[in-house]
Symmetry: C2
Subunit: 90 residues, 2 copies
DNA sequence: TGAGGTTACGCCTATCGTAATAATG
DNA sequence: CATTATTACGATAGGCGTAACCTCA
């Protein structure tokens, strides 16, 4: 599992669409599709249902989405706090 | 920034020693040393003080350590919760 | 047959390990 | 000089993009 995979997952979950997610991420479709698949493999089963309209979150996907968003937010906080601690407020 | 870098950082911070951290991580020393350096570069400055005895956390390193541990814990929770949601408790 | 997702394949960058090189008490 | 971290360098693996393919209404 990588932070990229988590970011790709959140984008697909929010867009409900690999194509739109890949444009938002500025990455080609197959890259997103592959990473989602790898994530699903690692988590032991599908997170999305593939429909002719796009990707619909399954229950396990909804569970993961909450955690995934929290992880990305925690990373942002970690970076901001560490940088801020180094540059004392003027 | 990657989850590996965060794991390497936590190991070095806890061991105070790249060598011990690398053994604990089952990875060669230079790999750990390089990733720590890359992390420091990304965060805009050093996280450790290099001493002849090992690596001592700087204040910004202490700040980052708290966040780093939280991120790794959140990842573990994400995996566990998603897997558990798929395999209903017997 | 059109919209979407996936697989195949080749390239390219990142990461690793071994070995050599500092730096420091 | 012993201990620790870092740099060099060659090899390997992972990730990406283009192009081809599959699936389903």
């Amino acid at each position: 599992m990588s932070l990229s995979q988590i970011r790709y997952f959140v984008a697909v979950a929010e867009e409900g669409h690999v194509g739109r997610a890949s444009r938002r991420l500025r990455v080609a479709q197959p890259a997103v599709s592959r990473q989602i698949r790898a994530l699903e493999d690692e988590l032991g089963g599908p997170l999305f249902e593939r429909t002719p309209r796009g990707m619909a979150l399954l229950p396990s996907g909804r569970v993961f989405l909450g955690h995934a968003s929290a992880i990305l937010a925690a990373v942002d906080r970690a970076v901001a706090a560490t940088r801020a601690g180094r540059e004392p407020p003027a």
